[in-house]
Point group: C2
Chain length 155, copies 2
Amino acid sequence: MSVPADKSMPLRDFQHSLSMELLKAREAAMSRFRPMLRRHGLTEQQWRVIRALAAYQQIDASELAQRSFLLAPSLTRILQFLEREKLVKRSSDANDQRRSVFVLTGKGRRLYEEVGPDSEILYSEIEEQFGADKLENLYQLLAEFYTALSNEDSD
Amino acid sequence: MSVPADKSMPLRDFQHSLSMELLKAREAAMSRFRPMLRRHGLTEQQWRVIRALAAYQQIDASELAQRSFLLAPSLTRILQFLEREKLVKRSSDANDQRRSVFVLTGKGRRLYEEVGPDSEILYSEIEEQFGADKLENLYQLLAEFYTALSNEDSD
DNA sequence: TGAATTCATTTAACATGTTAAGTATACTGC
DNA sequence: GCAGTATACTTAACATGTTAAATGAATTCA
């Protein structure tokens, strides 16, 4: 590749840290949500699953994994936990015995309705501190990044 | 197949995904680096530590944790691994017996010099696919986000 | 000085991330 | 039908994330 254009730049630093900058930004946001979720007895990932379940009456594990962006083994464990806590109920798909279908229980839905508003408040604070316009900008850029990199997996 | 729940919009759209969009973007990048690092016998986090060690002659665990953005317990385990593999050598700070100071061994430095170029290649590909200008833009926005949220922890 | 406190690191316990392998069901082509 | 393959999870094994507590060494200050 080409020689770095500007030697005064601190060691081609962005090369070394794109992944870390994404991590840090995420952590900046999540460090606000985690304590709130913890007070409700949930982890970030469990909450992602509950949100996905709240948005769909019936949803199988594969689609749940996609929507909550979890790998199958993690999702298996999380669903086992949520079942133990009686937040989620499992049944099997009559048309395909390989599939499990999940729904929120009454308890699960009540929890969802409890956590939602708390989450809203924190989101509003972030939006206020960073700026709604910039947040939208970031959101757009992230989506483009994801798309650009996902579409060219082959070479 | 999933059945959407009721049409009422309980939570705002971006609320559903800021944290997940950051995660997805990060995953889009890391899914390229992980196989390469794995071929060298390293995880992403171990590589972060090695990079930080390569940049500083002497560095204690606290600063290493900051620079590699790892929590202390994770760093402890990673350093134990790197010591077992003889990639890193530990000594204790003469002025403060609480602190451990770390350096790359010859083996560690050779590994760093092996992995570095492979990492470069993947970064260049990402830069090419997404666009250097946009990447810079994203990088800047992430830094601002992190700063905006970190500076107002109290109110 | 010495008790109390802070600091650096480690350990513990449990949840999740990651890859590989296993299990059971569905599908496909012959 | 049935062998071969693909699909939908699940389990296993190990690494890391997260919080709390423990350990041992510095620091503070009455």
